[in-house]
Symmetry: C2
Subunit: 254 residues, 2 copies
Amino acid sequence: LYADPVPESEQPNGDAVLDRAFALLRAFSAERTELNLTELSRRSELPLSTTRRLAGQLVALGALERPAARRYTVGVRLWEIASLAPRGLGVRAAALPFMEDLYEVTHQHVLLAVREHDEAVLVERLSGHQAVDVLYRIGGRMPLVTTGVGLVLLAHAPQEIADAALVTASDPAALRRTLADIRRDEVTSFRPGPPWPVVSVAAPVRDRSGAVVAALSIVVPDGRGNPQALSTAVRAAARGISRSAREVAAHRQN
Amino acid sequence: LYADPVPESEQPNGDAVLDRAFALLRAFSAERTELNLTELSRRSELPLSTTRRLAGQLVALGALERPAARRYTVGVRLWEIASLAPRGLGVRAAALPFMEDLYEVTHQHVLLAVREHDEAVLVERLSGHQAVDVLYRIGGRMPLVTTGVGLVLLAHAPQEIADAALVTASDPAALRRTLADIRRDEVTSFRPGPPWPVVSVAAPVRDRSGAVVAALSIVVPDGRGNPQALSTAVRAAARGISRSAREVAAHRQN
């Protein structure tokens, strides 16, 4: 009451500071991994002065880096912390040897994804130089209903996520059958259709409680390879990852 | 002056909030990827009430997740942001196809690391089921002077980093020769010695300005494989990554 009023945007309020710091971090994208202060300010919708102060603090903490004067990127130290996310690199560590086996058989794309609300987040991808041209980016998001890994995750998602997907599906009955088939078969072959001449063969990865925590897939040109053999290979690899992840988890608890 | 004094630890000061939030995030480690509130509070050296409030905010932002009641882990959403770090997954994306080629030749460890001050941070690792038993963790740190990738990064580090390493080296003259050899040959074969029966063959990855931004290596059992062939393969792969990363950077700037 006795101090001058501080404008809302400049208030050093604790809660707001954290929200704003994450608004700054979220300003970066796969297309724009390097931003200057003006761009940071505009994309995070924060005043320039706030942006400058917060960016300076984030640089001091290693969450941002300055590769050149007035340029900012996400920092390796943030990446070090984030690499401890169990649903990111954790499941990936258990999965990688099995993914490499699949990669050697196909030399195409081998994908590992987890569900984040109503989308799939790609946590690992192995792709050959000559793999079919599909745009997958690690850390990137994909819809659940238009990818093999997404459908596997959707088949094992909470009811409200599945219901929302069925409401917006062009053919709800077909989607419902697909999800039931995935739960029964523990594997699916998904063809996105033209213009993508590929087939994605995907299977669930489970934790020790049996809950589905990730989905594994290979994406190959449609018509190449024996579909039955691919299904068997992906299912076996997914089971191997589930077993290996359980062993890691059990070891950590001791 | 007219309000009750708020204890320092409870002050909703903006700068302190950000520092404390990162202290919470840094409380996690490879050995402890899941913590309860008491552990978070102890490891971040923050009062329990502050820890509870900040952890709640970080969960709302997706930086933390609660896999079970009162348990916290680093969140996939933080990992998504961090995956945009150019020195993390950026260089990795350019490197992966070349790393897979090396992996197929050796079926051992293929490593990619960047320098963070006076340590190497592992940004990628491909390892077979049967690879020699060495503990590498993605996102983990390694000393510069006791690893192949570290020595390559040290050979191209700023003078003050090299000076500090030479001061603490057991044989400064030998280390100085090794670093000069690496700068001349663009490749090194490093044997850590007993009890590790391995050889690490490492080479630098450069950006378009010629600056060394990462180091690539294969780690194989000592005595297996032709040393000359391994050196040639690693050097060729590192040059391939450098070229590929430059193309990506050039593309991004358009």
